[in-house]
Amino acid sequence: MSFDLQAVIDSLKSNFPDTILDIKTFRNETTLLIKKEKIQEFCMYLKNNFDFKFIVDITAVDYLERKTPRYEVVYYLHRFGPEYSENVRIRLKVEVPEEDTRVLSVTPFWSGANWLEREVYDLFGIEFVGHPDLRRILMPEEYNAHPLRKDFDVRNREPSKRCFEKALKEGESGTS
């Protein structure tokens, strides 16, 4: 028995008529554009009814000066099946405007989303509301920029240097 992705999309369409803004299929990859406010309900429905148990990745794109709203948060969901054809991957996108960079967290459904959302928060500055522990994960905690934003100069080492000098001072005063 193979898994029918079209049936899933039809069911989603009938259950969330105003939530799906756009559906794209390219080379057997399905992308759904979702309303930002509905991401939690939508993910929960996909997980509970169609077994999308695994969050592969959460990332973001900065479309500075190319598109408004400026950001898109991208979710990759995976469903495991005993047969090869039942392994299905689906991509969800959410548009995030520059003025309000808050998105609802999906960590309550997939605990694997915890660090992925922290990474997006660290590098793009998108806040995940409802995340249990939203701290920076890669850059130093007192770093004051979001390096993957397109308006950040990749050669700007000043914020990193400031954090490094602060860490050095703390190391000198502490017991080393």
Binding site: M139, V154, R157, S160, F164, G171
Partner: protein, 161 residues
Amino acid sequence: MGVNTNPVLGGDGFVTTKLSSFANWARKNSLWPMPFGTACCAIEMMGAFASRFDLSRFGAEVVRFSPRQADLMIVSGTITYKMASVCRKIYDQMPEPKWVIAMGSCTCGGGPFDSYAVVQGIDEFLPVDVYVGGCPPRPEALIDAVMKIQKKIEREGAPIV
């Protein structure tokens, strides 16, 4: 140094030297490296330590993972600013006298990573004795660097405390 024989000692020889050059001779032939490997250069460093290249021929085989027992720091691999404070802390924990080898393009000057997170050369925060270029350098290059350190130690005239 001079070799002498003395009839009082039954014809046995003895060596006259300065204490500082004796200490330098001992130090240069028993370097204990602290490997600070963060990237692919560390693989070449392991190659230099292992049987084919065998750094123990130069008396530097006792690789210590505790800075308290080491006197030669081999920094091999990209150092980010977040790692730099750790690197400096480990260097500070090493007892004097101590030496530093910057191994590979990344540690010498940032390598290909002209980016917001990467230190453009570890001499921004460490006193480097020998730079080894290459991406990554061959084990022979690291052996050459250790030998240069040995020459440097030999010439050192610092008083023993």
